[in-house]
């Protein structure tokens, strides 16, 4: 462990930690745009410059490894002046569309421009990038808002491993690009949206949220993704009861901030009118049980020829107890009539490990058969 002093706070930090790690772990906020706790430091934004006693020039905290006895100052008139000038330069290459921008309220550049009181650039406004790419159904790439922090490039390389994008061009003409600026679908992109997650500005935005509401109006609901047994933490941003987008949360125990394409973009079933929200019993059985007075018969034609019918025509909504009783009675009848091996079971990868374990236990002990299989094996 090393002893360092940051802004007068005496801290003990593990060897190898950077000044940024140390500061964030001890609630010292250092301005930062390209830094992300899950990515290797890049040192491109220069906002995390700090003063170290014994060094002539400010150094970026994200790449500075702590040394024992190091004394660091994150705030000083000189630093404030430098950072204001850096934000001034950032803003000279960024449209100040905050009044209509969807990202307003959660944009990191907006936050620092506000904190440092930079209302507009003192230089000429020169927007270096103008490309607008909406070539996929999930996210839009609006390059004029890009600040080239390269978080997206790093997350694609270091976390996802897809390497679909990189910086192309040089200097002021540099931009984030797929190979040869081709459509996203032709790249190695897996559409996990991790780049959208880490983008600090409006350069990468989910299609689903465009023009649907301001960030501060949204209700945020933490949940667990139901797509598989991993159990990723997911946060849904809602307005008026409808999901606008899903994202990871830094406190996600399993997945951190990162999700796969299903978890991040596959949530439109949630408010679909045909979504089943309660248990149902087939209408012919329900009629026998006296739960409905409308009889119904399974159509005789080939199932392949059956036209799509409304679920209410053939099913009746019941409560859980009724549904489970009906299922248990049906299962018991088969076991008693034809023996336990007349039953087979198939379970799903969308269930958790625990669910799957319990299910096989139920089949072996309660039903008494080894006829168990799983969709992942098919």
């Amino acid at each position: 462990m090393l002893n360092v002093t940051i802004d007068g706070k005496k801290l003990t930090v593990p060897e190898g930690s950077t000044v940024m790690d140390a500061a964030l772990a001890h609630q010292v906020d250092i301005p930062r745009l390209c830094h992300h706790p899950d990515l290797h430091p890049s040192g491109g934004c220069r906002l995390c410059l700090v003063e170290v006693e014994g060094r002539a020039d400010p150094v970026p905290a994200c790449g500075l490894v702590c040394a024992d006895g190091m004394v660091v100052h994150t705030r000083s008139p000189l630093l404030a002046d430098m950072l204001r000038e850096i934000i001034n330069l950032f803003v000279s290459d960024h449209p100040l569309d905050c009044v209509t921008c969807d990202k307003a309220g959660s944009c990191a550049l907006q936050k620092y421009a506000y904190e440092f009181g930079v209302t507009t650039t003192s230089y000429e406004t020169r927007i270096s990038r103008s490309l607008y790419q909406d070539d996929n159904p999930f996210f839009v790439r609006d390059h004029k808002y890009c600040i080239l922090c390269a978080r997206c490039v790093r997350v694609c390389e270091e976390v996802v491993g897809a390497n679909a994008i990189d910086l192309a061009g040089r200097g002021f003409e540099g931009h984030i690009s797929t190979p040869f600026d081709g459509p996203m679908i032709d790249s190695k992109c897996v559409f996990c949206g991790s780049c959208v997650q880490v983008c600090p500005t409006a350069a990468l935005m989910p299609v689903s949220r465009r023009g649907k509401g301001r960030e501060w109006e949204l209700q945020r609901v933490a949940s667990i993704c139901g797509y598989c047994g991993v159990g990723c933490t997911v946060e849904y941003a809602l307005k008026d009861g409808h999901i606008l987008y899903a994202q990871g949360r830094p406190d996600g125990a399993v997945n951190g901030e990162f999700l796969c394409t299903k978890g991040r973009y596959g949530w439109d079933f949630a408010s679909h009118p045909e979504r089943l929200t309660q248990p149902m019993i087939r209408r012919d059985l329900a009629y026998q049980m006296g739960l409905t007075d409308q009889p119904w018969q399974l159509p005789q034609e080939s199932p392949l020829a059956v036209r799509k019918f409304k679920v209410e025509d053939s099913f009746v909504a019941v409560d859980w107890d009724t549904a489970l009783d009906a299922a248990a009675a049906g299962l018991a009848a088969v076991v008693q009539g034809s023996g336990p091996d007349a039953v087979m079971s198939l379970t799903s990868a969308r269930c958790t490990n625990e669910d799957n374990y319990l299910f096989q236990k139920f089949m072996r002990v309660a039903v008494g058969t080894n006829n168990i299989d799983h969709c992942a094996r098919l």
Binding site: G44, R46, D57, L89, F90, L148, G171, G174
Partner: protein
Amino acid sequence: MDTQQIELIAEHERARQDQFQRRITCCASTACLSAGAGKTLEAIKQAVAQCSCAEHEVEVVKTGCMGLCSKGPLVRVESKGEPTVLYGEVTPEVACHIVGQHVPSCECSAPAEDVALAVPEPEGSVLVASAQERLLARHLIPLDLPFFTRQHKVVLADMGTIDPERIEDYLAHGGYQSLVKVLNEMTPEQVCDEIYNSGLRGRGGAGFPTGLKWNLVRRENSERKFVIVNGDEGDPGAYMDRAVMEDDPHRVLEGMMICAYAVGASYGYLYIRGEYPNAIARIERAIKEARRRRLLGKSVLGTSFSFEADIRVGAGAFVCGEETALIHSIEGKRGAPRMRPPYPSTSGLWGAPTVINNVETMANIPSIIKHGAGWFAAIGDEKSKGTKVFALAGHLRNTGLIEVPMGITLREIVFDIGGGIAGEWNFKAVQTGGPSGGCIPIEHLDTPVDYENLRKLGSIMGSGGLVVIDDSTRMPEFARFFIDFCVDESCGKCLPCRVGTVQIRALLDKIIGGKGQPDDLDKLEKLCWTVKKTSLCGLGQSAPNPVLSTLAYFRHEYEAMMKEGTHA
């Protein structure tokens, strides 16, 4: 090959050269080649072939740079028992006359009456000179010019003498003797200490002590280490490294191998700028020859030391001269710098400890080993030892490649070696260090040239570009040229360099266009300091130097431009 074989080849080559009465050498370095040296060389060869001279009368050799590039193509005639003569601007016709003049049995010179017509005898002349002599007198370059006599050649010692495409010639001039000495008589630690004691500092510009760097890598406990020679010279107007690679490639290889032995590396890369096809070809040839002679490969000179070298060609990015960007480029990644530490000496190429030295630094090594650290440390001044090669360019009478001891004054370089300003204008400033350097005005001309002094003046030593400008140049426009270069060459990774340089250029354009506002100069200065202090790598940190130094020394020119604009 072992040590004795080297000596044998050298002896044999020396004996072969000694047979000849005369040696006519023609520069075949890029500067002279672009002035037509290829045809000149052909003409000389043809003329000699047509002579009815004896077999060992004359040898024609293509060599490397002789220095005075503005007078290219250069041809030198060394004859036994006669003083050496140097000719400049040698066209194929002049070349015939040179052969005619110096090879008595030659019959190929143009008819005397043609020459007489072209060079009429001055009226009332009492000199009895043939028309051919009068013509050649015009091309004769006196070797006692201060341009030659004030130089001190260490790195360039063999350049212009040896044939860069023949390893035998290098061996005959004592080549690879330092490697022999190092492998047989010195431990790696001794080599590092020798280099450290010599006081050699990195010639790429930053001036880090080379011996210290080597020792850092030597002490790293790693199975894999690398040596990289940085030949990605990109400063406008600078071509020191190109000349060394083209004209004395084995010297660079030898330096590299000594370095590899000293730090414990067994593989090395020469990273050469793609715009230097000639240098690439000659280094490639040198590597092949060295490999053929078993100087490269397993068990060099019968010792346990093994070394392989390979070339990587740059793709035209200035920033790849920065060591971390260069490493990325060799690794096949985008050539962008990264934050240091870790420095390449602990984690460089593919994460292995790596020495990166500039071409000129490596070319100094064989001489230091040969003559000793004390000899080298005696050259130069207190903190900067040895010599420095400069590419003299700009409004000078003599431009070309020079090598001078550290601590020489700028005045000596400009007025003695450079011969002063050509034309009717006066000296205004000298720009050192290329786009990363600054402009130094006349009042600081007596400053001794070394790393610290140049930095104090707001410039840098840099890799050795030295551009002299006369007072026909407007300094804000001169500064704009370099900022424009940095805008083009910025990699775009960090904001101050990417956006800051563009805004500096925009402000300069405004001022040059006469539309400057009263507070624009302060704004420009502040912006320059921000870019200098906050950029990630050396490119951004030094990009504002041309503007800052001209603002410091020539602020009145900026102010005058602003006033012109408000009056107009």
